[in-house]
């Protein structure tokens, strides 16, 4: 009885309230826009407008002087894009080289940094580890230091007569001339196992050209110089991603783990079947950030190698900078940036598709199938 009463009273109260809400609704929307407007304006001025302008520049012959929307600037259609993608020439050669280099770079850096970050996070997350805070700080430290400063240190460590080679020589290994060595890792391995000689590559590979580069060049692997940069980047970024994994690990309820223990799961099984599935969203985040970050790599090349030796550390981001600021080819520089954007977008979408939650997809599929079946039944009836 009283329940019904209170219910009625409630609904009675609610009705006028709804009317009142309607009245302030407009104001609230307006106020909402007002509150977000500083952010929108800032994003617009520093993000949206520059992107639109760069897109425009990529379709013009703007030479860097005066307004890109001025009367002297000509619209050239997709010319900047075709010179990078379809025309035989230096621009396409350099662009393809940068794509090759970065492909190997991403392939090397992303899996290793993700695995290393996960490993570090699991280690640091051990409850019985002494000095956890120290290790956490130590692992995270490279991430908070400027990448330019770290790059400079690495240049000194990895010179031909630097600390790394001195240590290596102590144990009887003659280290390569790290940052000046353009030989590809796959080429070196092939030579070591006797597949080929770098000075006289197999003619079938060397004489077939695809997009301005011979197959021999395409299958070069990262150069020793690029590998050195990869080592540095993995060391630097693993700490950042460790922190993300650590946060997710600390979210994992202890009961779940204990339940798995009760069920008789061993360490490995607990990790593979409890921890990793729980970390799926974090793994997705880390991989996405990793792929985006690695394709855009610039600082290290700018500080350490300027694209050399023999263009083996040329990357699209550095090439875009060089085209614009050094060669005054602003349209081409902008075009490289947009091709890179499209590529990253595509790769992230593919990765999103591959890492989707399969249970959820299956469930969705099942409901869809059910609905279909019901519909079919209805049609039959």
């Amino acid at each position: 009885m009283s329940q019904v009463d209170s219910g009625r009273a409630g609904s009675g109260r609610r009705a006028p309230a709804r009317v009142a809400k309607r009245g302030t609704g407009q104001n609230q929307t307006g106020a909402g826009w007002l509150f977000v407007s500083p952010m929108l304006i800032i994003l617009g001025i520093f993000l949206a407008i520059p992107i639109v302008m760069a897109l425009w520049v990529s379709f013009t012959d703007w030479n860097g002087r005066g307004n890109p929307f001025g009367s002297r600037v000509n619209f050239v259609g997709a010319e900047n894009y075709t010179s990078l993608l379809t025309e035989q020439g230096l621009s396409r050669q350099d662009f393809m080289l940068s794509m090759r280099n970065t492909f190997y770079y991403v392939l090397g850096v992303v899996p290793v940094q993700t695995a290393l970050a996960l490993l570090l996070a699991v280690i640091v997350n051990q409850k019985f580890l002494k000095g956890r805070t120290f290790f956490r700080t130590a692992f995270y430290f490279p991430s908070v230091v400027s990448s330019v400063a770290i790059s400079l240190v690495f240049v000194y460590l990895f010179t031909g007569t630097g600390a790394i080679n001195t240590i290596l020589s102590k144990v009887g290994v003659i280290g390569p001339n790290w940052l000046d060595d353009p030989r590809g890792v796959i080429h070196i391995i092939g030579e070591k196992v006797g597949l080929w000689s770098i000075d006289a590559p197999p003619s079938a590979l060397a004489s077939t050209e695809v997009m301005n580069l011979s197959l021999w060049e395409w299958f070069k692997g990262p150069s020793v110089a690029l590998s050195t940069i990869m080592i540095q980047v993995i060391w630097t970024t693993a700490g950042t991603f460790m922190l993300m994994f650590l946060a997710a690990l600390q979210d994992l309820p202890a009961e779940v783990e204990e339940a798995a223990m009760v069920d008789g799961a061993n360490r490995r099984q607990r990790f593979m079947n409890v921890t990793v599935p729980h970390l799926r969203p974090t793994i997705f985040l880390v991989l996405t950030l990793g792929i985006i970050g690695t394709w855009q790599v610039f600082d290290q090349m700018y500080v350490m190698t300027q694209g050399g030796p023999a263009k083996t550390t040329l990357t699209p981001a550095y090439l875009s900078y060089a085209a614009a600021f050094r060669q005054q080819q602003w349209g081409e520089g902008a075009a490289i940036a947009f091709i890179l954007f499209a590529l990253i977008f595509l790769l992230t979408s593919i990765q999103r598709y591959l890492l989707r939650d399969k249970d959820e997809v299956a469930k969705k599929k099942a409901t869809k199938a059910q609905a279909k079946a019901a519909k079919a039944k209805g049609a039959l009836a």
């Binding site: 929307t29 826009w33 407007s37 929108l40 304006i41 617009g44 001025i45 949206a48 407008i49 639109v52 030479n63 860097g64 002087r65 005066g66 307004n67 890109p68 929307f69 001025g70 009367s71 002297r72 020439g89 230096l90 621009s91 050669q93 350099d94 010179t159 031909g160 007569t161 001339n177 000046d180 353009p182 000075d199 694209g307 050399g308 030796p309 023999a310 263009k311 085209a323 614009a324 600021f325 050094r326 060669q327 005054q328 080819q329």
Partner: protein, 415 residues
């Protein structure tokens, strides 16, 4: 929902329109006037320099302050951290620095862009600047700016290694054959006879000595495959293969000077900047400087230089030109030489410089027969491609590389 999206779209579109019409950041360019823009009254000039260090910055500031005091104007000197980027920002905004350092290798691209004001004809004694320097800063038949100073390559010889190999004062190489002979005598297990920096900025000196150049005289066609260039490159490659010439990347050194200082090479070919490096990093290495040997077509070296650029968009060009003439006077050039070791770009200052720095005679002699860098627009990419292919000099297929340069340069020149 759809209303929100629409509002957002309007906001963004409005923002773009505002910034485009507002025109705060960019200037719609108009044709550069030939008569200097002359602001009346005292002007405030902005100067952008790429300084080699405190000594240079202080010297430039002192010189500009003196001019400012005399004329009643003011000059603000800014040291660029990234010259390319800061210049580009200035030119795009329409408010560049009035006066700035302009590198010879970059010059043509900016001249073509229309960012530079051609004022050389207004200078007194313009003919006194070395001819090759004036040529370096000439685009489409017009000399744009006044050469600030220059450097030239010469042969740097380690005196200890020299006497250890049993060589005397009379053995200083005069020809290519001499150079190969002494390099052979100087070569030991740990030391190459001659160490060269990679790229055409060093090996190119041999091209000049052989009477060749990468481009034709008028800069309209590429000529690297012709004997003038290819024979010179072949000479270097032959000696490189024999191990008596080595490149800095073969001996794990950053540049020729480092290899020379560390004793990895008994001779090197570098410019006058090596003096500072030797003094700071290798004070115990004794060396002498000699002119480069003559090639089949006579003497030749490479010159590196910068000029005092004045912006086409400057509002006070007349004052800027006046400032530049005071900065390029003979006395001022000697003062700069004293302060940070550059060589004067005026021939009239050469004698004064030689008396002050007798050990630099070999460097400054290059002014008479040296060649400036390639100064045609759009060549940056082509040159860096050539240099990257010459990194492994001994293994390079020179004929292919030079032909490739001609093809790439040809299409760059056609643009």
């Amino acid at each position: 929902m759809s209303r929100q999206v629409r509002t957002l779209a309007i906001c963004l579109a409005g923002g773009i329109a505002l910034s485009a019409c507002g025109g705060g950041g960019f200037k719609d360019d108009n044709a550069s006037p030939s008569a200097p823009a002359s602001a009346s009254g005292p002007v405030a000039l902005q100067m952008l320099i790429a300084s080699s260090g405190d000594a240079e910055t202080a010297a430039v500031k002192a010189a500009t302050d003196a001019w400012a005091k005399k004329t009643g104007n003011t000059v603000t000197v800014t040291v660029a951290s990234d010259m390319n980027q800061q210049l580009a920002q200035g030119f795009a905004s329409g408010k560049p620095a009035d006066v700035f350092y302009m590198d010879a290798g970059r010059f043509a691209d900016y001249a073509k862009q229309g960012s530079l004001y051609a004022y050389a004809d207004q200078l007194k004694d313009n003919g006194d600047f070395y001819e090759s320097l004036r040529k370096t800063f000439t685009y489409e038949g017009k000399q744009y700016c006044a050469p600030k100073d220059f450097s030239a390559l010469a042969l740097i010889i380690n005196t200890d290694a020299w006497s250890k190999a049993g060589l005397g004062d009379g053995d200083i190489p005069k020809t290519w054959d001499d150079l190969a002979t002494v390099a052979k005598k100087l070569t030991t297990d740990k030391q190459a006879g001659l160490v060269l920096g990679t790229g055409i900025d060093r090996a190119g000196a041999f091209v000049v000595q052989n009477g060749g150049w990468w481009l034709s005289e008028d800069g309209t066609s590429a000529t690297a495959a012709q004997p003038g260039v290819s024979e010179a490159m072949a000479y270097v490659q032959k000696n490189n293969k024999e191990g008596i010439f080595k490149f800095n990347n073969q001996v794990s050194a950053g540049w020729g000077g480092e290899a020379f200082g560390k004793g990895l090479g008994a001779m090197t070919i570098e410019g006058n900047w090596i003096k500072g490096a030797m003094k700071n990093d290798f004070p115990n290495v004794k060396y002498v400087v000699a002119e480069l040997p003559e090639g089949p077509k006579g003497k030749g070296t490479l010159m590196f230089t910068q000029c005092w650029g004045i912006a086409a968009d400057s509002k006070a060009q007349a004052q800027a030109v006046d400032l530049v003439s005071s900065l390029t006077s003979v006395d001022q050039q000697i003062a700069f030489a004293d302060a940070f070791g550059v060589m004067p770009s005026r021939q009239a200052a050469a004698d004064g410089y030689k008396t002050k720095f007798p050990q630099d005679a070999a460097f400054i002699a290059g002014g008479a027969y040296g060649h400036g860098p390639i100064n045609v627009p759009g060549m940056e990419q082509v040159i860096s491609d050539l240099n990257s292919k010459l990194e492994n000099f001994a293994g390079a297929n020179l004929a292919d590389v030079l032909k490739g340069f001609d093809t790439n340069a040809g299409s760059a020149l056609g643009k």
